[in-house]
Subunit: 760 residues, 2 copies
């Protein structure tokens, strides 16, 4: 049965939610740079008066509640439910995680002994646990608690729906709790995972073009910005596309509205803020109590330490993956050994390398890292405009074209050679991997083919590299230069070649091969730039988006996301949209993540992968020690460390190690912390199932200590148990609240009886 | 004419100074760990009440001064002197530094055009200067100003005296000002510099034992802890030693008293505190105004950038110079390739490598960085006791003996091999040097010979390494185990072999050769440990120091220093005592430097080299971002960056680059800042005159921009000019004050005249 995207109807959604979302959106746009823009999403922590007022209001509410018989009853039932789920959450002496193959029974998510585990036994050493008795979230009124929980569960369901249909990862534990809440049975078969191509064996030729499967001879056509696949020309004429799911515009914008409205919802904000604070304090306690026990685990773990656990650089620009000294040395080397080689063509005139430098009045011997100027000096802070121009060595785009591009007179040979030098170092290091970004601009339909040719011709394959495609959101620039007729054309240039290589691989052998090593999409732009268009179901479709204005981020995301979803349902080998830019989230998310408690808490509950690059952020936006990485890690968000841009920000040849070293030093991370970050990075990465099993343990896809093989990850089982139990505890709050509807009904009934009794 | 040490007589010193010093010392001892111990040395910055009171007192003083005719006159003359020296300090458009061959005339230290410079011309680009008009140190009364200046000048003279006689470096500019103050002419001939052995040429054999000069057949004998050199046995019998200078006990302890008393002197504290604050703010202004100009200089400086300026790791332990991963790999490699080799002997039984590991119940394959346990985890903070035991891999001293010692069954082969692997990396890197510490304990007279044998046998020489000898201050431990009869014996074991190799090199060819590559002495101990003995001229001499108590730091220092001074006056190739531990300074200096404004200001004026290792301090004592490195650098202290202990604190193979990278990231150092640190490190190092000329420029020993070759150092001339002019400005305050004695005399005279006139 074809998987279909569940459609929403406008009438199903509370009109108020939509209005609120529009208000939120408008406010963000209007007050972009002012501090006020944040006020909608934040809690008044910095403002003592605001804080005092808020407290006063809370107190009044609570007092009012005390006088209500009904509320008192509901409160009491909550406490009962809570103490029940809490007592069931307490693990016995011998830690046993819930078996994954059997759904935890509704009220006993961590009940020991339920179900039979078929995996090899694992143990968790004893450790000290932090539990709060009688807690159902002190300081939040019953009504607020219920409202927040409902909103959060709804947002999680939205996330789950999109992940499932696009073959993105959604955490099993959260999925199980969501099932429990609606009395459904969680089924392993329903779980989807991104399925990445395993690397070729050691004796296999990674450039083998002969194993492309036969053409399906399907026909692909874009309509309104979405690609449709037809069995043949006839069905195309009849407008009968194959049934492949994608979110329709109305549903998407409604879901978006819900999330936006939730971000600004008062009770939800308060609730999330409190839970996040709790998570942070709980980790501090855990650390104090169990630091030595965790460390003992690591010390007695043979052979494995931080140096030989696998780590993936989950976010790095290919054109910046070599550090500046490397680029400089490479330039000097080429000048020394091949200065008479023809390397460029300018206005029909062929130029040798020597002539290129002469035309720039430059002697490579004199070149320095300072004059190369790809390093983000202190002048670059807060200046995104300057930042982008930095990518031109010596301010000369000629050198950028020659050395850092895949398309030029040399067919990108120099760039390929440098990337391969970086790859050789990774391979020698053995434990480090990276996912560099290559750009597809959508300016021309040939870009994909050219990239594939570059990859194969210069043999850029490395077992330690998976590729991510980055799409700069610069339609406006191309349109203003008349390089594109509409936004739809750009989408077509980006996606049509992918579909064609998928349905007719024999006709597109090179691209088909290259796509095996591409694991994701990413999208970038100057995030301080905004358009004033609010994306809604009334927005013009891409075919008629011919204005010079750039569409908003959410518009880009919707069309990229929808097409990736269709594509993934068509392909066996999946492609994800990547961590930082994942999912149907509105513009403000990236900038606001540190400040919006609601988003942060949702990222936690759904364990949405986040790749953070404190060194790169340090120089651009945020002082290093103020970077929220440590805080996020403590709270339990799914963080990995990445370098982003070694050319600008890293001094040594081991950029990723430098990133870890500085984080460990500044925030005094323990070995267990560092290894947890490394483990997260492998999980987030586009490495194949087989590789992940090899690097993390055969059960890596299971959550909690059961999914951890300390012999491979060097992450303490105590840490894994703490994370897992903590997530279960947070989710149980939501499921407790969802049970409350019954309780409310019950309590109202009994109240009704009482009233009728007293009146009689 | 023999150089002799000028003796002081007790009666020459104000008894009060001695009493104060004793009080200071006693207070430090008594209140070691309490915050009060610092109060003597600090200004009450953190305490608002104290601060307010202090301000009140200052105001009263100033008001009192205003009513005094005499003070008003003196104040006026100061302002006149000041405006004069200030106007003379203003450089003309074309910056020209004072010629070094001619002494700057008394009131014109930076007068342009004085003397003829024979060096190649150098230029300083125009830049914006910060000057304060009518400034002779606002907020300090005339009396206090004079008192502080006199004390500081006296301390500088003490420092100069010791440097000169021990062949240590003293900054030329400061020396010139000191001359000016007593109307003496500074002579280049009087300047002494440490003279380090140049490395052998590329074709020369660094282990050539044949070029030892003939024996002098002098006789050396220790008396009262000092070594005396006699022409022959007859003169020894007659007790007629060669005339070699060393500070006698009385002089040394009196000098020490003066410095100690000065540290606690109220007006001096206030004055230094104000000057240091001024220096810091002045640099901030300079940075704001000239950052871009400095950067422009660097950008237009061909070929040279931060990566290819020379940098020396000025403080690093040889047994920790490889990072932990390196040590681990080396252990595993030896086990794989030579497990059947006999590597140890225990109770007469020879053991293979395999047997050693078996006896420890260990399989090297299982070993990890965590189990190796040489990394300073978070448990080590503030725990010096634990810290020391960390040096035993896997807590097993057997492994430490086998892999990290120069004396063992293998003659230190493994240790030598690892050091050589580190050396090869430095040589390949080309621009990095290091000065690792090797220990001489003074437990046995053979230690030096053994070390020399280790060095020659395993061919440990590297052009990128100079060696520093570290003497742990652990007499008490040796004495308690009855390994030494007295402290004098320890001193003899440390110094006698050096003297014998110096006077009779033919008889000690190996040690004579090794000493060519040794450039300094260093001394270490747990600095939180203290004895209650106060060093004075009444302290027992080392021959009769037979107690089990450890002598105080100052006692150790005096005897080491005195013997090094005698030795250096005997040798052509000099040996210094090293940066962190230099000179005749009392115990509290190291710990107190960040808190004592007087010491800090003296370190500034005398440009005393300081090697800082923020990463190592980060883990042990101080949070990284709170490390005073940035503050010290801004104030203009002579700072270099060093790693101290890569085995514990560094992740990458490029430890020194990692140290620079983190400092640059956390404190946002500019390229110019980093290059200034690198330049300082070369100046502080024991590299030879020839090498320093090659690495820094032929005039490197000159101060200010004249001594800088930007083509080699990549330090902006603007920065050099700023540093130089600022130092001159600070020194001119002192010389202005010294002129005041004449003025005071003059003013008193005129006052006398006025009085007599009015009375007549």
């Amino acid at each position: 049965m074809p998987r279909q995207f569940p459609k929403l109807n406008i009438s199903e959604v509370d009109e108020q939610v939509r209005l609120l979302a529009e208000k939120v959106f408008a406010k963000v746009l209007r007050e972009e740079d002012s501090k006020d823009a944040l006020s909608l999403f934040t809690v008044p922590e910095d403002c003592p008066i605001g804080q005092k007022e808020a407290k006063e209001r809370e107190l009044q509410k609570e007092l009012a509640e005390q006088h209500s018989v009904e509320t008192a009853k509901r409160k009491k039932s909550f406490k009962m439910i809570r103490s029940q789920s809490l007592s069931l959450q307490m693990p016995t002496q011998e830690w046993k995680a819930p078996s994954i193959s059997s759904l935890p029974s509704p009220v006993t998510p961590v009940l020991p002994g339920v179900g039979q585990s078929v995996q090899e036994p694992f143990t968790v050493p004893e450790f000290q646990r932090v539990t709060i008795s009688e807690d159902y979230c002190a300081g939040v009124t019953v009504d607020d608690y219920e409202q927040a929980a409902k909103g959060l569960v709804k947002a999680l369901r939205i996330r789950e729906k999109y992940c499932r249909l696009a073959y993105h990862r959604f955490p099993r534990t959260t999925a199980q709790y969501l099932c429990t809440m609606q009395d459904e049975k969680w089924k392993m078969e329903d779980e989807v995972c991104p399925d990445f191509h395993p690397p070729p064996g050691k004796l296999e030729n990674p450039y083998n073009l002969d194993d492309a499967p036969g053409n399906l001879d399907y026909v692909v056509k874009m309509q309104g910005g979405i690609l449709f696949v037809y069995d043949n020309k006839e069905t195309m004429k009849l407008n009968e596309p194959r049934s492949l799911p994608y979110p329709d515009l109305v549903t998407y914008t409604l879901d978006l509205s819900h999330v936006l409205a939730l971000i600004a919802d008062g009770p939800t904000k308060t609730y999330c803020h409190r839970r996040l604070n709790f998570l942070e304090s709980k980790f501090s306690l855990h650390e104090m109590l169990n630091e030595m026990s965790e460390f003992k685990e690591l010390k007695s773990n043979p052979h494995r330490d931080f140096y030989n656990v696998r780590k993936v650089d989950t976010h790095i620009h290919a054109a910046a993956c070599m550090n500046q000294k490397h680029l400089l040395k490479f330039i000097k080397r080429t000048y020394k050994t091949e200065s008479n080689r023809i390397v460029a063509e300018k206005e029909g005139k062929k130029m040798t390398l020597k002539q290129v430098f002469e035309s720039l009045h430059m002697d490579p011997y004199d070149l320095t890292v300072d004059s190369l100027d790809v390093h983000a000096g202190r002048q670059t802070f807060h200046r995104f405009d300057k930042f982008n121009s930095k990518y031109n060595p010596v301010g000369a785009s000629e050198l950028r074209d020659l050395y850092l591009k895949t398309e030029n007179y040399l067919g990108g040979e120099y760039f390929a050679r440098m990337v391969k030098e970086v790859a050789r170092e990774l391979e020698e290091n053995k434990y480090q991997y990276m996912e560099p970004r290559l750009s597809i601009y959508g300016r021309s339909p040939d870009e994909w083919q050219n990239l594939a040719t570059w990859f194969i011709e210069h043999k850029v394959y490395s077992p330690n590299i998976r590729w991510v495609i980055q799409v700069p959101r610069i339609y406006d620039i191309f349109r203003s230069k008349n390089l594109l007729a509409s936004f739809g054309k750009m989408l077509e240039n980006i996606f049509l070649p992918l579909f064609e290589a998928t349905v007719n691989p024999t006709d597109h052998r090179e691209l088909h091969l290259f796509l095996k090593y591409v694991t994701g999409f990413d999208s970038v732009d100057d995030e301080s730039k905004h358009t004033d268009h609010m994306f809604s179901n009334r927005s013009p479709n891409p075919d008629i988006w011919t204005s010079e204005k750039n569409p908003p981020y959410s518009y880009y995301l919707y069309y990229m996301y929808a097409n990736i979803m269709v594509l993934n349902n068509l392909r066996k080998i999946k492609i994800t949209s990547r961590p930082q830019k994942e999912g149907p989230k509105p513009e403000p998310t990236q900038v606001l993540l540190p400040w919006s408690p609601v988003l942060q808490y949702l990222y936690y509950l759904a364990q949405i992968p986040i790749a953070m690059s404190p060194l790169s952020n340090n120089s651009l936006f945020l002082e290093y020690s103020k970077n929220p990485l440590r805080e996020f890690l403590h709270k339990g968000l799914h963080i990995s460390l990445s370098t982003d841009d070694p050319m600008q920000f890293h001094y040594t040849k081991e950029a990723l190690m430098e990133e870890y070293a500085i984080a460990a030093q500044v925030w005094k991370l323990s070995t267990c912390d560092s290894c947890e970050l490394a483990r997260n990075s492998v999980i987030q990465s586009g490495l194949s199932h087989k590789e992940k099993q090899k690097f993390l343990g055969v059960n890596y896809y299971k959550e909690g200590p059961e999914g951890n093989d300390i012999r491979k990850t060097n992450v303490a089982q105590i840490r894994m148990a703490f994370r897992y139990e903590t997530l279960c505890n947070e989710l149980s709050f939501l499921s407790d609240a969802m049970k409350s509807e019954e309780i409310t009904a019950l309590s109202k009934e009994s109240q009704h009886q009482e009233t009728s009794q007293s009146s009689s």
